[in-house]
Symmetry: C2
Subunit: 335 residues, 2 copies
């Protein structure tokens, strides 16, 4: 059975608890919008496209509860995390359906189906970037867990693997939350795709020694000029990739593109609790009384991105604005 981050049935949103992977496979069953908001905040569900779908179903649950308005439910869910643009698109899609008297659950289902379909299209569009024997580096998790199914960065890799091509994936462990070693490694193992987990510090080394052919990552928000907000560390990998002449790709559905951000300078970067840096799997690593900073994202300027893998093909930064006018849904009112 394919990996799925979440699904909805019997008035319940089922979420694979990504905080416990890979050691435990636990599913949470949520029936209230407040519980969905908390699950987004605490990273039970993560990855911008999956967060967007969770937000959409959160709106559908709010409509069933009967004590929320479209606007109040939207505000509650939109306040959870500031960076992932998909969250606001998912919420707004259902809010407008609800406000117009349409079925919120139908709108959420349609939104989920759209995201899954776009991930499949990203897989097809991106596959040609990875020739037989490609050794590909990825950062964080932009797989099925981040997107409901298939993934963004991992979708083209699934496609070339399914075609029988030889493939090897370098997996940045992605401190502090270890989405690479916990989640991407788990997905690749389930698929039978060969990989090695490395400390984030080692990515540059393997680029420099000629053992990385290309890099592909997902995104939390992409500005109109192609500046990319993504998991902390993405910027370093992009700079070092360019320094070594290695192509750097960003894969995302349309919901990740933010037509209202002209560039990356105004994208809010969430700073999370310092405890994520000060400990590892519950084991404290810093001395008592220590201090830590924990920005969860960084901004990679468009000039470091070789191509954007979208449902409509691989685009250069300069083509994003026009593609958004053609293919992306209207800007959300929230966020």
């Amino acid at each position: 059975m394919a990996v799925r981050a979440l699904w909805f049935s019997d008035g319940t949103l089922h979420l694979l608890d990504q905080r416990r992977l890979p050691l435990r496979r636990t599913v949470l069953h949520l029936r209230k919008v407040s519980a969905v908001a908390e699950a987004i905040r605490n990273l039970t569900v993560r990855g911008a496209p999956a967060i967007g779908v969770a937000g959409a179903y959160g709106m559908a649950l709010a409509a069933r509860e009967g004590r929320h308005t479209p606007a109040s439910a939207s505000r509650l869910l939109a306040s959870t995390l500031p960076t992932a643009h998909d969250l606001f698109v998912g919420i707004e899609t259902v809010r407008s359906a609800w406000a117009e008297g349409n079925d919120p659950l139908e709108a959420a289902d349609a939104y989920r189906a759209k995201i899954v379909g776009e991930c499949l299209a990203i897989g097809d569009a991106g596959a040609r970037l990875f020739p037989d024997g490609a050794r590909v580096l990825t950062h964080c998790n932009a797989g099925a867990l981040a997107t409901v199914q298939w993934g963004t960065a991992l979708a083209p890799l699934r496609v070339v693997h399914a075609r029988g091509q030889k493939l090897f994936v370098w997996v940045d462990e992605t401190r502090p939350v270890l989405q690479g070693s916990r989640l991407t490694a788990w997905e690749l193992k389930e698929e039978g795709i060969p990989f090695s987990v490395i400390a984030d510090n080692a990515a540059g080394h393997f680029m420099h020694t000629g053992e990385v052919d290309s890099v592909i990552v997902g995104a939390d928000r992409i500005a109109r000029n192609g500046d990319v907000a993504n998991k902390i560390g993405t910027y370093e990998k992009a700079v070092v990739a360019r320094e070594n002449g290695i192509p750097f790709y960003v894969a995302a559905p349309w919901s990740t593109f933010d037509a209202k951000s002209p560039d990356g300078s105004k994208i809010p970067v969430e700073e999370r609790s310092s405890s994520e840096v000060e400990s590892f799997g519950g084991v404290r690593s810093t001395p008592p009384g220590s201090s830590a900073r924990n920005p969860a994202f960084d901004i990679t300027p468009a000039k470091y991105v070789t191509g954007f893998v979208t449902p409509r093909g691989v685009l250069r930064a300069g083509s994003i604005a026009r593609a958004l006018e053609r293919y992306a849904r209207p800007d959300p009112a929230v966020g």
Copy 2:
């Protein structure tokens, strides 16, 4: 009392167990060269200059045991780790004294005193690089723990702090062994120098947002042309520093310079156990059956290094060869 990584008394080498810091302050008492070799291999003592001093005292213990020759003891200790050049210098210094009929312990004591003196000189030489209010990034631990006392990269920071200058240090946690969050944070806390620990992934972000004025690191081996072998991740930080116009300094005593390596291409890079990447503090992060790679060092080409902070001042890469002829001791026969 100042931090000391090791000291020798009553026929015993005392080592602060750096694997247990910062949560436990345990001292190991070693009387055999085989125990010293194991302590070097398992990172009880680490940091190239401190490893060199431990190697020197290991030779002195071997001479006392009575069942080793200078050559056999030298081979045993030199086989522990391949990258840190200081190890071979420390061993060779005592080996040649012993082979010539001089007191090995006196030679080891003299070697320790020389390294401590050079670290003090590095502190004085490097202090002018850090003006009042400097915000300095460091990677791994190149402090007292890495060098017996004072440190290499941390020595100039200790000096400017002691002078009453304002100073802030960004501490890369330095996965996989976390020498930054465990050791550098501990040293800075003991000194009262303000700092924040960050995930290695965040270093580039803070460089890019203008919050890092300069970078200073230690080294495990420096080739004659200025290529630097240092803790994995150093290369990434150096590339991103240059991309952002931030000075990048490497501080080291003469024992770290390897006149026999014309450049970094032939420096052996140790690959350590994948278990260091797959877990922390006994907590596993990757799925069972996962695979990991764990290069412990990387090579930073000389072009990324703004200056080398040596006991004789701050040098450009082009001046290293001549400085070695003047100031460094002859090349070791081992290594």
